[in-house]
Every structure is written in structure tokens, then in C-alpha cells.
């Protein structure tokens, strides 16, 4: 199990490319030229007395149709605060009805490659982490991140949502995407990143032999001549390089016995945050299974949203 000293003494070799901001500025500019074309379809089977559930689609980078679950409180006319939930690497985007009773909407994004958004891009699992690694322009995560950004654009297009109260959360890949999207979309007012993935790739791919990071080790072994280029591409997608660009309050939750997303790598992203930040360390916990985490996440978000005082 890692200690806090291990985390604090860890120094990543990841550096930020000089053209990092330009690259993402161009990407967001390309995205802005694509019409959102949102389609909202009620799902009566998933709706109940407290929550109206909708299946949403919108267009993202490359014109791909992206799907999301959209849960709106059944009572009240809004505008509602909203949490955007980013998905884990292999898990299904959840239908988050649990916030409806509290008067909070949730958008749960199925990024490209997920079951509901796999019509035109389906690298599979394993596979997503290495799809298009040949260059920063072709890397699959360029689209994945754009899909998350586009989710915020969808939210901002909705009259029933309060644009001043947009929050973000997710665990594992969802934690990494929470950090990255919060850097690219300042409309997000606060976020919780649990066990964040997508941090410190050069170290993360060698510290354990667990997936998904091991996909990168397999790639480097299969194509040794391309390892340097791979690591250069990944610099543009490392949450450590997005972290200093986040202006909103952010929590990073880390399990000290995490053998999927090494705690040192997640801590590096936390260290790179320059705004208001909190660190939750969970000793004797592994990836995604700290018993206290869900309750703490809920309480902290409730505090940010203004539902009640956050717990210490």
C-alpha cells in the first residue's frame, strides 16, 4: 500500500507540450463548428414519480452521434442545478435517478465507443486506450474528450437547467474526464474526480500489470519503434497537464492500494491543481471500492450545489 510520503515524493516525467493550449483550442474550435442537433426522447420505463428520464443524443467531433441519459426532477419547474457524470472505462453510463428527489438533474454521458454511442467508433474494451495512438490528431480520446465537452454544451442549451450551477463527477476514467473537461469548460463550477485514470501514462503503464494501462505496455512491446511517439501523443491527453488549467473547486479521491490507477499518478494530478482543491485519501482501499467514497462524494456535491452544508 502506498503511503502519503510515496505520493508526495513521486515526480512524473510528464511534461506539457508547448502547443498544448493551441491543440485543444483548435479541437474546441472544430467542435464548435458542428451543430449540436440534440434529440431528446422520453423513456417512460425508466421514469418514475420522482424523475423523468430521457435518452439524449447530440453530435460531437467528426459528426458522431453521442448518447446520454438525462434525468430531470419530476417536481418543480427549474431551472435545476445539474451534475454531469462521466463514465468509467468499461462500465455502462448509469441512469442516475438518485438526485431527482433533491431537485438536481443529471446528465450521464456515453462517450464514443460505449454501447449506446458505438455506431461509428467501436474500438472495444480492451482497445480504446490505444485506438489511433499514432498521432495526437488521430487519438481516440480526442473524440472522447470532445464528447464530454459537448455534454456541457448540451446542458447549456437547455432552458430548464441553471447555467450557473453545473457540476461534474466520475470515477476512474470518469475521474480523469472530470478533470479534463473541467479544464476545457469553465462553466463547470466544481467537480469530484475519484480514482482518476488518464494520469502520468509513462509511469502508470509500468507500475502494475493491470488493464487498462497495460494496453499501453502491450502497444509499446508490439511496436517498440513507436513508443516515443506514443508517449508524445499521450502528453496532450494527460490529466496532469489539464489540472493547472482548472479554475473551479476540485476534489481528488485516491485509494492507497489502487492497483489499476496507481495512487502516485492520481496524486500528481492533484498536486498540479492550482485552484481550490481537496484530497481524499482512502487507506486499505483499492480501485473504486472505498466504502466512504460514495457518501463523501454526495455530501460534497450537495454542499457545492447549496442543498446543505458539506461534511468536513
Amino acid at each position: 500500500m502506498a503511503t502519503q510520503q510515496d505520493l508526495e515524493s513521486f515526480i512524473t516525467e510528464v511534461t506539457c507540450p508547448d502547443d498544448f493550449d493551441d491543440f485543444w483550442s483548435v479541437t474546441l474550435d472544430q467542435l464548435s463548428r458542428i451543430s449540436l442537433k440534440p434529440v431528446i426522447t422520453a423513456d417512460p420505463m425508466r421514469s418514475n414519480d420522482d424523475v423523468h428520464v430521457f435518452n439524449v443524443t447530440y453530435l460531437s467531433l467528426g459528426g458522431l452521434e453521442i448518447s446520454a441519459w438525462y434525468c430531470l426532477p419530476a417536481h418543480g419547474s427549474g431551472p435545476f442545478p445539474i451534475i454531469v457524470n462521466f463514465p468509467g472505462y468499461k462500465s455502462e453510463p448509469p441512469v442516475r435517478r438518485d438526485w431527482g428527489k433533491k431537485g438536481v438533474a443529471v446528465l450521464s454521458v456515453a462517450v464514443r465507443g460505449k454501447l449506446k454511442s458505438s455506431g461509428e467508433f467501436n474500438p472495444g474494451y480492451p482497445g480504446l486506450l490505444t485506438a489511433g495512438l499514432e498521432s495526437k490528431e488521430t487519438y481516440g480520446y480526442r473524440g472522447v474528450i470532445a464528447d464530454c465537452v459537448r455534454g456541457v454544451d448540451f446542458i447549456r442549451s437547455r432552458p430548464e437547467i441553471d447555467p450557473e450551477r453545473i457540476y461534474a463527477c466520475g470515477s476512474s476514467q470518469g475521474g480523469g474526464l472530470t478533470l479534463i473537461t473541467s479544464a476545457l469548460r469553465p462553466e463547470i463550477k466544481a467537480g469530484v474526480a475519484g480514482y482518476p485514470f488518464l494520469c502520468c501514462y509513462p509511469e502508470a503503464m509500468t507500475m502494475f500489470r493491470s488493464y487498462p494501462y497495460d494496453e499501453l505496455a502491450c502497444y509499446a512491446r508490439a511496436y517498440p519503434g513507436e513508443k516515443e511517439g506514443m508517449l508524445d501523443t499521450l502528453r496532450y491527453y494527460d490529466a496532469v497537464n489539464f489540472a493547472p488549467r482548472i479554475k473551479c473547486p476540485m476534489v481528488v479521491g485516491i485509494a492507497l492500494d489502487d492497483e489499476v490507477c496507481p495512487p502516485e499518478t492520481s496524486y500528481a494530478a492533484y498536486s498540479a491543481l492550482t485552484g481550490h482543491k481537496e484530497l481524499w485519501l482512502f487507506p486499505n482501499s483499492g480501485h473504486g471500492n472505498a466504502h466512504e467514497y460514495p457518501g463523501q462524494e454526495r455530501a460534497w456535491l450537495e454542499g457545492q450545489i447549496g442543498l446543505k452544508a458539506a461534511v468536513a
Partner: protein, 292 residues
Amino acid sequence: MTTSADNYWQETEAALAEFPVDVRLHRDDFYSQSDWDVYQMRYTSADGFRLFAWLSVPKSGGPFPAIVRMPDYGSVQDIVYTPLRERAVVMNPTFRGQRRSDQVIQAQFPGLLTEGIETAESYVMRRVFADLLRGIDALSVQGQAQLREIALIGSGLGGALALAGAARRRSVIAVAANTPLALGNPVSFDPGLGYPLAELDDYLRLYPTRRETVVQNTGDLDLLNVADKITAPVLLSVGINDTSTCPLAFGEQLAAKIPDCDLRVYHGAAEGGGHEHAQIQLSWLADKLGIG
């Protein structure tokens, strides 16, 4: 076992017997490593469905014990990962509708739990259980790895599939099941549950007149029907706050019916033992398989 459930399992075995297993293995050069080879495995289940599994085989030595990690409730089954893979053959099978086994049907999540639930013949979950029995069969007849004992592990749906598999296949010598899905048990219809069990309540809210049919078509899958047939030792973990997969009362009933069950009850967030139990399970499995 109820007569209906007994008939279901007999029909399931008969449906499997209609098709040869027809195992095909393809070494995956990309994911194979210095200590183990990874294979993409394909075989035939009931109705002629071709299914996919990941198979990891240690490079040298053998015969090896085998661990079958039954799939969770989701579209993706992990590629093999366990610290035991250097000392054991590990198989991660899929069921129909999951990725790489989705040529005919593509499972939806939420949605799979009620897919085709209108009739016993069309209810996909009844075939999901068949698919995982066939996975054990395929492992047993594949020619790549020399096998010793077989252990089954799984969580949620995977936990239920592991227990059912042990009840139906005597080659299984140990089962580690976490929060097995209470599908088919009356508790699964309680209002206010979380997903995936909440799918049943969702369905009945929309189609209240179909309740009797739903109860009947899921009831044969209640693990309580087969629990007393499990001869292998079972390590079972449940959580006192679980309201979406294995409510505590169901877990306790199940443990009471399994002849050799080590029940661990955790006071965690919801899902059972989490990291603490993962460590216990690893040691328990290594001990049962003689690779400690």
C-alpha cells in the same frame, strides 16, 4: 428444487446438448506476455450462439488449476487480470449480447434483465445461465492447457452465475461469489431497489398486468432452487446496505442453504467487502487451488 426450476435446468442442458461445443482458440500476440499466453476463445452455446472468452495460460509447467471469472452485469467482460494468472489458467467468458458475443443480440444496460421476459422461451436471462454453463464445458474440453481443478468467481450477476455453475457442474471445486444477483427471488421485486434489480420494478410499473408472468419466468433462476446442490466450498460476501444486487436477507437465506458456505457480511457502502474482501478472496482461492 421446484418442479418448474428442475424442468428449466433439464431443458437448458438439453438445449446445450443440441450443439457441439466446437472450441476454437486464437493466440492473441498483442496481449500475450512473457509469463502467460492470452487466447481469444470461441465456442458454441444453446441455439447455436457463438460466444467469446479470454483465456490466459501460464507459459511453462502445468497442469494448472483454472479460475473462471464469470461476467458482471454489463456489456464488457474484462480481459484477464488477477495476480494468480502466473500460476493458474484463467478464463473470462461472456454471455450472449455482451461485446464480442453480440452478433445476434446486443444487450442493453439497463434492459437485459427484462429482455424478452414476456415468455419463458424468449427471456434472455434464461439463456445467459446456459451460456456460462457452456463456458465451463468449453474450458474443460479445450486442448491448449492441461487443467487440474476449476474454481468459479464472480460478483453480482457473475456471482449468481458462479453459484449456478457450481450447482450444475461437479468439476467445480471452489466458488468465490460476491453479492450474487437475487434475480428470481421475491425480494427482487421490492420497490425502491437500485439497478440492476430495479429494472424489474421499472418493467412492472409500465406493465402491471404482467406481474405473474414475470414472477414465473424469473423464478426458475432463483439461486435458492439450486443452492443445496452445490458440493464445492463457497466463500460468499454480502453487504448490509446492498439494495441493488443482493439484499442482505437474500444473501443470508442463500448461505443457509449452501452446504459448505463461509458467509462474510460487510458493513460497507453497499457492494460487500470491497478491498478487504478482495484480499481475503485471493488467499482463499490460492489455498483451495493449491497455489498459495
